[in-house]
Structure formats: structure tokens, C-alpha cells
């Protein structure tokens, strides 16, 4: 699905990430950890082409992200749902429309009942009419996750999706992601929450990627 070949990335100073060669096969479930500022968000941005590697190449389904046209990148993003760490919404549209936005911008019909089910699952159904600035921090994160999966994407990348959520709600979202994984979706979650990782591992064959010394490595069983 997503493949890194000898990828390095630098924001201009020294190299932040280097020598990354790995594959996220279809249907896999990965966690990504590492200390704050290690480059987790950067890694995710490389996956969906917000950033281009300074060396090596990133391919999604064999397509080199750097060589794709702008519309090609847009098409990839329609197949990759992303929960950004600083989730941004259109502040003038109510929550429900924001969640349905990926459908709207690609001209697809919005199924009222699917949207309602999804909002209910993340506990935002009563807030459908609220504008994003009226949401709490955790509610924004849940809305971002809902927006990321409404297109039924093949890949879901989530950057710290539970940072502002209580444990119960975190588990609820994890369950949702595990269900999606069982349906064949590829999942990659950047998180600091070791409990979440442990809990996931008990339910699914999740692997953990760890950023250490500017490299992304598969963590052993030391969790």
C-alpha cells in the first residue's frame, strides 16, 4: 500500500528522519510512537504527500507521490483518510457538513443515515448543528476522525487521535478503527498512549513503529 524507499527528510536544518525503508501492507495495523518532536507528524505527512522526502521516494500503490500531478495527489487523498494533529475545519459550516465535506468536495452523495450512524458512534450526533468553534477539544478530535473515515478510505492515518479524549472514548474510537481494519483497511496511528497500544495489541495484530535516532524501526516486544 504505502512504501518508503530510503527516505530522508529535513526541514532545512539537520536531517530529522533518515534511511527509512518500510512497507505498510494493505490491511495492516501500525502504531507510530516516539518522543515529542521526533518526527511522527512529519512521517505521516510524507505518507499522504503534504511533504515530499528530501531523499528517497514514497509510493502509494506503486505511484510515486512526488511524480503525481496535483489532481493525482488529490485522488490519493480521497483514498487516504487523515486525522491531523491540529484538526482544522471550515468554521462556518456545522459539524455534520464538515464531517461530510470529503464527500461534498468530490461530488458524491451524502447518505443521511450513514452520516448519522457515524456521528452517533463518535458521540457527536447531538452536536450535528454546532459550528466547529463551539466544540470541545475532544469533540474536535472525534469529528476529525469521523471526517477521515466517511469516504471509507483504503488507508487511515491518525495523528494523536486520542490526545484529548478520556479512556472510554479512546477505546470506543480504537474499536471503530479495529473494525475498519478487519474490513481490510490499512491503519496507522501516531500516539503516545502506551495503554492504547497495549489494548489494541490484545485485539488485533498491531505492530509498533518507533522513531529513535532519526530512524523508524519496528519495536520489539518491549512494550
Amino acid at each position: 500500500m504505502i512504501e518508503f524507499q530510503q527516505v530522508a527528510y529535513s526541514y532545512g536544518g539537520g536531517e530529522l528522519l533518515t534511511e527509512i525503508t518500510l512497507r505498510l501492507p494493505p490491511g495492516s495495523f501500525h502504531f507510530l510512537t516516539g518522543p515529542s518532536g521526533a518526527g511522527k507528524s512529519t512521517f505521516l505527512k510524507l505518507c499522504y504527500g503534504e511533504l515530499h522526502p528530501t531523499a528517497g521516494r514514497v509510493t502509494v500503490d506503486e505511484a510515486d507521490l512526488r511524480k503525481l500531478s496535483r489532481d493525482g495527489v488529490a485522488l490519493i487523498r480521497q483514498r487516504v483518510g487523515v486525522v491531523h494533529q491540529d484538526c482544522q475545519f471550515l468554521d462556518h459550516l456545522p459539524l455534520a457538513e464538515n464531517v461530510a465535506l470529503p464527500l461534498t468536495v468530490t461530488g458524491r452523495p451524502v447518505s443521511e443515515s450513514d452520516l448519522g450512524d457515524l456521528l452517533a458512534w463518535v458521540g457527536l450526533k447531538p452536536l450535528s448543528d454546532h459550528l466547529p468553534p463551539q466544540l470541545s477539544g475532544g469533540e474536535r478530535q472525534r469529528a476529525a476522525l469521523a471526517r477521515a473515515i466517511i469516504m471509507a478510505p483504503d488507508v487511515i492515518l491518525a495523528d494523536e487521535p486520542t490526545g484529548n479524549l478520556d479512556w472510554e472514548m479512546s477505546l470506543r474510537l480504537l474499536t471503530l478503527l479495529i473494525e475498519l481494519n478487519k474490513m481490510g483497511k490499512t491503519i496507522l496511528i501516531a500516539t503516545h498512549d502506551m495503554n492504547l497500544i497495549r489494548n489494541a495489541k490484545s485485539q488485533v495484530a498491531a505492530r509498533v513503529l518507533r522513531i529513535r535516532d532519526r530512524r523508524v524501526q519496528l519495536a520489539g516486544s518491549d512494550l
Binding site: 488529490a74 487523515v82 456545522p94 443521511e112
Partner: protein
């Protein structure tokens, strides 16, 4: 949920991705309105000064007079000689000796109708009309002096020329004014569209990240901003035309100088302003939108 249904009912859902209100939104409409208002006035000014210049040029057709004094017997030959010279002078459109009756009429204000004109040693007057290029007055004077010493050249241009020049300059001023306002209008609308788009950068960024295509995003913004500029310019033009119509009418002054106002088909001219404003807004927003998008991966 009602909002969502409204959304789904709406003709063009893409329109809703553009924030509907706020200062940056009003900026484009208001700028277009204010500048259209000014443009209407500039147009009126330009038309008025153009008309004024045309009338003056007409009224002040470039004329001069030659007075021929001679003994009665030689008068006809002398006059004929002068006319011959004038015919050969480049820049003279036409020349004509006045009849005695005409001369009498000219003198009436001074002597009353009962002047015994035949008894007087009346000089004959020759009226001549310049072409637009004018002629060489000094040269003509010298030539006349040499061949018809009794002919005196009276060039009225000393006081007429400046008036014609003034008319021409007024026309130029009108044109300069309209060009300036048009340029400023275009610049301001472009700037407003750019500022509004800059304020919407987060929205554009979010849309791009969730997989919207460039053309979709650009089209939505361009459509909205063009419509805003069009609406603003329509309002400004209407207000400007209303204000011009309310100005005191020009006719009372006898028509020599038309006032600031449109007449007849002239009223259609300001109606070109809103489409032009819309075109400017369209191009400016399009350029700005694609420039913004280029800056986003």
C-alpha cells in the same frame, strides 16, 4: 439538521465552502461598489467634458478677417487678389468677401440701422476659415503686405486659440480621469480579492488536505468573489447613476456647457462598469486562488 438539508437542496454545494460573511467578504463587494460609484462619476465627467470640447470647437471655428481698403475703382481687383492669395495659402479652408448688406448688419449695433453706408469710404471685409491645422499667420501677413498693401489681416486667434486649447485639454482631462479611476478600480478590486483570499487560506488548505481538486476549490472561490464584485459594482453603479441623475440638470444653462449627466444612449455607458468589475474580480481571484493552491502540496 435543517442546515444540512438546506445544504443538500442548494443548487451548488461548492458555494457553501466559501465563508459567507465577515469583513473580508464585505471587502470585495464594498470596494467594487465604491470604485464603481467613482467610475460612474468619472464617466459622466469624461462625457461632459468631451461634449463641451466638441461644442466649443464648433462654436469657436477658427476664423479670421481681412479688411481691404482701396479706392472704389480698384476695390474689386484688390479683393479678388486677396481671395486668390488665400486660395493658395495652405491651412485656409474657405474665404469669402462679405456683401455690403452683411457689413451693414455688422455695424448696426454701433450706428443703428440708418447708416448711409454707400456714402462712406467703406473697406471690404473678407471672412476666412482655417482648417484644423491652422495656417501660418505671419507668412500670410507678409504676403498680403507685399501684394495688396491696402489689406489688413486681423487674426482673431489671439483670443480664440486658448479657448479651443482649453476645450481640448478638458477632453484630455476627462479621459485621464476615467483612465485613473478605471486603473484604481481594477487595482483595488484585485487587492480586495487577494486580501479576502489570503484570509481564506486556512479554508483552502483544509479543502486541499481532504482531497478536493484545485479546480473545484478555485471555481468555488472565483464564482463567489466574482459574484460579490458584480453585486457590489451593480450597487455602486446604480447609486452613482442615481446621484448623477439627481444633480441639477444642465439644460438651464442654455446648452453651451452640458452639465454632469448622461443623455440618451449615454445612460447605457455606465452599465459596462459592473461587467468590467466582475471580469477584473474573476481574473484577480483566479490568479490568486491558483497562486495560493500552488503554495500548498
Amino acid at each position: 439538521m435543517s442546515r444540512i438539508f438546506a445544504f443538500r437542496r442548494s443548487e451548488n454545494p461548492a458555494d457553501r465552502i466559501v465563508p459567507p460573511s465577515g469583513f473580508t467578504a464585505r471587502l470585495t463587494s464594498f470596494t467594487a461598489a465604491a470604485m464603481a460609484f467613482l467610475a460612474v462619476f468619472a464617466l459622466a465627467l469624461s462625457l461632459a467634458s468631451g461634449k463641451l470640447a466638441a461644442r466649443w470647437s464648433e462654436a469657436l471655428a477658427q476664423t479670421a478677417t481681412i479688411r481691404v481698403s482701396a479706392p472704389a475703382a480698384q476695390m474689386e481687383t484688390q479683393v479678388a487678389k486677396v481671395l486668390e492669395i488665400l486660395k493658395q495659402t495652405p491651412g485656409v479652408a474657405s474665404a469669402r468677401a462679405l456683401s455690403l448688406d452683411e457689413q451693414k448688419k455688422l455695424l448696426e449695433p454701433w450706428f443703428g440701422p440708418d447708416l448711409p453706408i454707400d456714402a462712406l469710404p467703406m473697406p471690404r471685409l473678407i471672412d476666412l476659415r482655417e482648417t484644423a491645422q491652422g495656417f501660418d499667420a505671419e507668412g500670410l501677413k507678409n504676403r498680403l503686405e507685399a501684394s495688396v498693401p491696402g489689406a489688413v489681416f486681423d487674426d482673431h486667434s489671439a483670443w480664440r486659440k486658448p479657448l479651443v486649447a482649453a476645450a481640448q485639454r478638458l477632453r484630455t482631462l476627462g479621459l485621464v480621469a476615467i483612465l485613473l479611476i478605471a486603473g484604481a478600480t481594477a487595482a483595488m478590486i484585485t487587492l480586495a480579492a487577494n486580501a479576502a483570499l489570503a484570509a481564506n487560506r486556512p479554508v483552502i488548505r483544509t479543502l486541499r488536505l481532504i482531497g478536493a481538486r484545485d479546480t473545484f476549490i478555485a471555481r468555488a472561490f472565483v464564482r463567489r468573489f466574482t459574484l460579490r464584485a458584480l453585486a457590489g459594482a451593480l450597487i455602486g453603479t446604480a447609486a452613482g447613476m442615481g446621484a448623477v441623475a439627481l444633480l441639477p440638470a444642465a439644460n438651464e444653462a442654455g446648452g453651451f456647457l452640458t452639465g454632469l449627466g448622461f443623455t440618451g444612449i449615454g445612460w447605457l455607458l455606465p452599465l459596462t462598469i459592473p461587467p468590467l468589475a466582475a471580469i477584473v474580480a474573476f481574473l484577480a481571484t483566479r490568479t490568486a486562488a491558483f497562486a495560493t493552491l500552488k503554495g500548498l502540496t
